[in-house]
Symmetry: C2
Subunit: 348 residues, 2 copies
Amino acid sequence: MRSKPCPPSTPASKPLSPVNRPTLADVAKVAGVSKITASRALGNPTIVSEATRLKVQEAVAKTGYVPNLLAGGLKSARSRLVACLVPTISSGSAFILAVQSLTETLAASGYQVMLGQRGYGEQGEDALLDAVIGRRVDGIVLIGAMQTSSLRQRLRDTGIPVIEAWDMTRTPIDMLVGFSHEKIGAAVANYVHSKGYRKPTMIVAREPRSTARGHGFLKEARRLGYGDVPATRIDAPTRMRHGRQGAAELLRQHPDLDVIFCATDLVALGAITELHTQGKRVPDDIGIVGFGDLDFAVDAEPPLTTVQIDSIEIGRRAARMLVERIEGGPIADPVVDLGFTVMERASG
Amino acid sequence: MRSKPCPPSTPASKPLSPVNRPTLADVAKVAGVSKITASRALGNPTIVSEATRLKVQEAVAKTGYVPNLLAGGLKSARSRLVACLVPTISSGSAFILAVQSLTETLAASGYQVMLGQRGYGEQGEDALLDAVIGRRVDGIVLIGAMQTSSLRQRLRDTGIPVIEAWDMTRTPIDMLVGFSHEKIGAAVANYVHSKGYRKPTMIVAREPRSTARGHGFLKEARRLGYGDVPATRIDAPTRMRHGRQGAAELLRQHPDLDVIFCATDLVALGAITELHTQGKRVPDDIGIVGFGDLDFAVDAEPPLTTVQIDSIEIGRRAARMLVERIEGGPIADPVVDLGFTVMERASG
DNA sequence: TTGTAGGCGTTATCAT
DNA sequence: ATGATAACGCCTACAA
């Protein structure tokens, strides 16, 4: 850092000589042993003598040898690569943290992550799957349910260990770690009821997960004796402005509402902003409940009542279960519901 | 979606038969041609007869053949894999969008992204580099400057095309696309001056990029005749609460301040929240300037004056330049400064 | 237009 | 404890 305001454009446009990387044979030659002994000294140190192990290590240091995982993978049929397939990497996606802990946990076990975005139509998904299968990944993490059932079937057929993370689905491909959006909706309905709100409403995003939460909320609200719950729909991915628009619209059509269940925390923040702008007090006039418990939720004014998901734990668990399955252990419980927590703060 | 509230835990704990994937030999047998003909029909269709091409395609469909990129890469020394090395994937990081467009653009050219986090100490970085080199990636995207110069040297020595994205650095490893944090600081100082503010202050994060912006701001402010610029330091990664705390502290120590340059948009949002809570008006009493132009900036109340970075373009350009270099073209301009825009809105 | 032989760098198998 | 040999699946080089 502290670069000068105007860094000189060093035209480092060298043609890049393709560098002859040292191979195991080079290491073996330098160490004065056979290739296979060198291989064992590195991959299975316990079965070679102390002396050779040291010689080989020295030779590695001297030559700058880095094992070719392509060659190793070809023979051993293990790539030490795990595909992580996300809907799309947008900022503000709550699952980003899950990707972080997933990558970190896998790295600790010696696996790298190949990142794939599948939000580019079925054709793109198909091509992505080709790339994944073609690389002979050892496992696949699917974040957010994959809709197309032909692709789900294809995934199942590969025989590659798959773990779905984030959403609970009814018919998991193999393993699953996540939480139920429907249950969240129901839990929020109960929370709202317990706080004595009389006229609940919601802002729902046009996106399956938010829709599921809305559905759960609606169903439970009906059971609790609330009539129909007014809802307004907004586009995904959600933004603060959608919260402002949604709140304004609900307020116009249902001036008697007293609480809004928002699609996400960002939407909730927008709703609060809009209400403040219109001179309403939160939560005295209108309560607000969000979803996600993103890091700004606790610092909002008023602090946001919302639903917390432990994304980091989801990523970590997904990594652990996948590694266990890859390395042969049968999984005790292939479907894990990590649940959620309704975080009561000041906003609703 | 629309899963039942309580999805049945189907114990899908089958031991996973390792499935014999079809190889090119299988395809060749089914198609009644030799392996190499099948290979050509797929990789170089123009040089085989129409009839064989069709036979082979049919055989591929029948067998469900997916080429083994490990084997192909071993021979051709091309993995069609690009490593993307980020500091750490935290939510609210502005470069997430760059990763998105990078991944997308690379996918369109047939390259996949291997994701690596290097924020786990030098030892971790070293292991990460082993993984990257061992996989014989075709290129490396380094997001955010890599500090340790021994590692930079090692990276240079690999001969693998490298593009640094996000930060301008003084001595690029190879190619570079980004913007200058120092220049941003200076530009904001000039903006603040042009708006007639008299007592600028700033909230700086303990993190090299934010520090560089602060440094640029300070230097230019001095040149413009402002005295010393009071600054308060906050931890990274930045959160809204840091903005609240920082603003409160600055206000306590310098009640006469009239504008705050914040480390990030989230910090700016926190500062606004704190000021509102303390009964100050933004921008009438105190102006606020952020950094990042994250998607909520425009929807804040008041809309946030901030610095916009075109992260998507950074990712796209990085991908294009890298692919061009990988595929042999010499790069016209290996160092690209994409600049930034001071977005004037209502907050300052 | 199609086919044969050999090698990429590693590890599994079987010997010593 | 160490070694020779043969794959792994594909592609380049050369030949037909």
